[in-house]
Assembly symmetry: C2
Homo-oligomer: 193 residues x 2
DNA sequence: TACAACACGTGAAGC
DNA sequence: TGCTTCACGTGTTGT
């Protein structure tokens, strides 16, 4: 074989593998599109562009649905959250409502208890909801008796404690899941067929 | 110009418009892909195939989320539904629970009332939830006094009434929205930006 | 004939 | 260098 022939053969082989790779790529993309089509309702015999348009609409629809429901029901959301509000209980005592949402982990509850204990706070009520691997905690906390947060009519003090609680819980929310078990049993997910 | 030249010019023009059309098509598809990418969380700089794979996962995720939530909370679903169950109230009286889900419309409630009245049924309780344009009604109905459904221990009679109610409500669910106003105020949808 | 949608192979760019 | 991804223009098919 001459050098020219070898070079040609190499070029042909390269071109072949190239076109084959490209074919595989197209296959992958099209398979995904087919799968997407099957996930959508009433979406047969539409072209690629329209299919994608419908996927967009569907995703938006589902997103808005979940967020609407989340407004009514305190289910865990996909993203980490932490909001602090202050209310007051029947006796006019200052109560801070802390709602946090994060990935569930085995030591989450421990962390919360420890943190609140360290801050000398009392948890009046805790609403805990899990959804898949996400967990939402809504805590109603107040100070222990004779705690500065118990003193009424002091907006500055309340704001101070809001900040303290926010910072403390922030580190808990931001702590990443260490791969342990979850602290609460998860709701069974519907099979994705 | 010779005939040959004219033919060539035509061919060139055709080829040009063809390639331009193809470019527009690609553009449309890619724009949709970009939009999809923006709708997903944490999905920058991934290739097309992986992007679509993530879209699939995301759609599945959202779907299972909404269905899990729907199990816990009686929110309206996307598809029309009608399920009939029989329970019994405190006094052991037969009560039939009818849950129906359909597009909301102004005369839906009227239809329900009329139908139940026609069947000489009494509605003990009605739970009504709207979500977007969808509405879910959960009705707890029983017979009027001395109605045959009030007679206990007659499984055949109960089944008969289940069928009667199912058929009657089926026509209501299947009645298409005539474009009128909705009978209930709809929950505001989150803006799709 | 013309248009729309698709699969294909190829050149270019990034790693 | 080879491998991957993309955009491009073209051939083909169905309407």
């Amino acid at each position: 074989m001459t050098g020219q022939q070898i070079a040609d053969a190499k070029a042909i082989a390269a071109s072949k593998s190239h076109s084959e790779a490209e074919r595989r790529r197209r296959e992958r993309i099209n398979n995904h599109l087919t799968k997407l089509r099957s996930l959508l309702p009433n979406t047969t015999k539409t072209d690629k562009a329209s299919l994608l348009a419908e996927v967009i609409e569907h995703v938006k629809e589902l997103k808005s649905q979940t967020s609407i429901i989340a407004e009514k029901v305190p289910v865990p959301s996909e993203i980490d959250e932490l909001t602090i509000d202050n209310t007051s209980d029947d006796e006019g005592r200052i109560v801070i409502r802390a709602s946090l949402c994060c990935e569930d982990r085995s030591d989450l509850l421990q962390d919360l208890i420890k943190t609140l204990k360290r801050l000398r706070l009392r948890t009046l009520k805790a609403e805990i909801t899990t959804l898949g691997r996400r967990v939402r905690n809504v805590l109603f906390v107040t100070g222990e008796d004779h705690h500065s947060i118990s003193i009424h009519d002091n907006q500055q003090m309340v704001n101070h404690w809001r900040n303290v609680i926010e910072e403390a819980l922030k580190t808990i929310v931001e702590k990443t899941n260490n791969g342990d078990d979850y602290s609460f049993a998860s709701i069974k997910r519907q099979k994705n067929k």
